[in-house]
């Protein structure tokens, strides 16, 4: 009975169904746009040159977020130092050298698992290995190392996809001209895949810049009256700072909270947008 009814009115059903699905997609996307615009609007009023360049004072209830910005920059760069060479090399291995065997499958499984491990578990691991066992202390070094292992899967998988997209004929021609395998990879394959690799690196670093849980016990400081001097110092960081001032400090002026959220959001969105732009521009320009 119902089946017959649905079949007879299938075009009406389709219309209703399409409207429902469209509404669902809109309901998914609108909060994203709303969130970003809301923070831009609320935080915009708080951000000034003094806010960006000043230290927090009066128990963080006044002043700026300068040390947190610098700290996040340090952590992002520190993460890049470790994860970029390792990640790109691993991607080159998987795309250019690895045979399709059990070991390679195990590597892929390991990468997928690395991507799925909860961020707070990375924090525990960083505490156990880098802070305590290797005695780096709560430091930029320990936090960067923790973050770089967390970002590895993103960098590896995106870079590998970019390397694989380079046509096989490029490699064949290069080798037939007398280049060695490594020369071919370095001068031809990596060069052609570079925009894709850079997109992957940026996406990985974006994740590192916004994460709080992995740095909670490995390198983040509640408050520091000065900038860190060496990789063995702890540092303030934007995401942790936002967490602290929105949950741990009573009577925190709301403006500063929104301002901090805005700075963090702009930092992360800039990375995200540049990755999207690089990707769509290479897609448009690609001739093969």
């Amino acid at each position: 009975m119902t089946t017959k009814f649905l079949a007879r009115h299938r075009h009406a059903v389709q219309r209703i169904g399409f409207i429902a699905i469209t509404l669902m997609a809109i309901a998914t996307v609108l909060p994203i746009i709303g969130t970003i615009l809301f923070i831009l609007y609320k935080g915009g009023a708080a951000v000034s040159w003094e806010f960006l360049s000043g230290f927090p004072h009066d128990g963080m209830r006044a002043g700026g977020v300068f040390p947190a910005i610098i700290g996040t920059l340090y952590l992002t760069l520190g993460t890049a130092v470790f994860s970029v060479p390792l990640g790109v090399a691993a991607a080159i291995y998987l795309s250019e050298y690895a045979k399709d065997n059990q070991w390679t499958r195990l590597i892929r499984l390991a990468i997928i698992n690395l991507a799925g491990i909860p961020s707070v578990v990375y924090g525990l691991f960083g505490l156990g290995l880098f802070v305590l066992f290797l005695k780096f202390g709560t430091s930029i070094l320990a936090a960067s190392l923790t973050l770089s292992i967390m970002t590895l899967p993103v960098i590896i998988s995106t870079s590998e996809e970019a390397l694989r997209a380079v046509p096989q004929s490029f490699r064949t021609v290069s080798v037939s001209l007398g280049a060695t395998r490594w020369q071919t990879i370095r001068r031809i394959v990596v060069k052609e895949a570079l925009p894709g690799i850079i997109t992957g690196i940026i996406l990985g670093l974006e994740r590192a810049a916004g994460e709080t849980a992995p740095i909670l016990f490995t390198g983040a400081a509640f408050f520091l009256p000065r900038l860190p001097h060496s990789p063995f110092d702890a540092t303030m960081a934007l995401p942790y700072h936002l967490f602290v001032i929105s949950t741990q400090v009573p009577e925190m002026p709301i403006q500063i909270q929104y301002g901090t959220a805005l700075v963090l959001l702009v930092f992360v969105l800039t990375l995200n947008l540049s990755a999207t732009v690089i990707r769509s521009r290479t897609r448009a320009k690609r001739q093969w």
């Binding site: 691993a90 080159i92 050298y97 993103v154 998988s157 995106t158 709080t212 929105s246």
Partner: protein, 298 residues
């Protein structure tokens, strides 16, 4: 010259191979350190007390059941939101949307995936929870439901991108066959495309759930942090505390090597094993279509 080139190439090849295997080493190292710091728990706390319903570390009560039920209730709530909306959005992007809408939607969903969880937690405290408190007439807006709502948003991008890839991978001929038999596009989506993509869609759901269980900051900020047993339906609208939030909130204040410290690592070990199981099952499906496996990660 020739000789040194070979030598150089040999070293570089070895270094690249070692990097390739590093992922296995890291998973092993993570597991090793979690075991090393977490296993002493079993010698220090009795199993019966570990499985009790009281989490009060200061007086040596380490019952993890409230934390597990807290994680479960928040995750189930998040899945109930993320699965329909994620799959709906994936169907829209892959089957219904015109090209221009797709070009806008995909980066926007990716953007949501990139939003720092601490920012969502911040908005949860300042905007979502006060609104929910008034709207649902609750004593506090910091509840499991608030966490589910935000976690749903965090899990959606994962579900959308994996499910959309699965739908994309369904051969066009399947759809054309259905249309030729007189099926509407809507009938084709429900009876041909989605069933053909079901393993990928299932993977999307699993990875989304995995993402939700592991999420830390948002949950810690908005679920109210009360370690009480959450097994009634009403628990959804009262404060709870998840496993991840417990680790994040308490690890900073414990003495290294104490029982409390070991128990927190033990909880981390459980979380690690959960994500390992979820990802192994999900990837055993995924390995059939390699492209999909690559997309999960990016």
């Amino acid at each position: 010259m020739e000789k040194s080139l070979n030598w150089q190439e040999f070293i570089i090849t070895r270094a690249i191979k070692a990097s390739g295997y590093s992922a296995i080493v890291f998973v092993g190292l993570i597991f090793f350190f979690l075991l090393r710091e977490g296993l002493p728990t079993l010698g220090e706390v009795e199993i019966s007390s570990l499985l009790s319903v009281r989490w009060y570390p200061i007086e040596n009560y380490f019952g993890v059941l409230p934390l597990i039920t807290g994680s479960l209730i928040v995750t189930i709530g998040a899945a109930l939101i993320a699965v329909p909306f994620g799959i709906g959005t994936a169907v829209f992007i892959s089957e219904i949307a015109p090209r221009w809408a797709r070009e806008i939607l995909k980066p926007l969903v990716e953007l949501l995936g990139g939003l720092p969880s601490v920012v969502l937690g911040f908005l949860g405290i300042l905007v979502v929870s006060p609104y929910l408190r008034v709207f649902l007439d609750l004593p506090t807006g910091l509840t499991a439901f608030t966490g589910s709502l935000l976690l749903g948003g965090i899990a959606v991008p994962t579900v959308v991108s994996v499910a959309e890839d699965a739908l994309d991978a369904v051969p066009r001929a399947y759809r054309e066959g259905a249309w030729a038999l007189g099926a509407t596009r809507w009938q084709t989506i429900w009876r041909v495309t989605l069933p053909a993509a079901r393993s990928g869609v299932l993977t999307a759901v699993m990875l989304g759930v995995g993402r939700a269980i592991g999420e830390t900051m948002t949950v810690m900020m908005v679920t109210g942090n009360a370690p009480v047993l959450a097994i009634k339906l009403g628990s959804l609208f009262s404060p709870v505390r998840t496993m991840t939030a417990t680790i994040a909130a308490e690890m900073g204040e414990v003495a290294n090597g104490s029982t409390h410290y070991h128990v927190l690592f033990f909880i981390g070990m459980v979380l690690f094993l959960i994500s390992l199981i979820v990802n192994i099952i999900a990837s055993s499906v995924v390995f059939r279509a390699k492209k999909r496996a690559e997309r999960i990660l990016s």
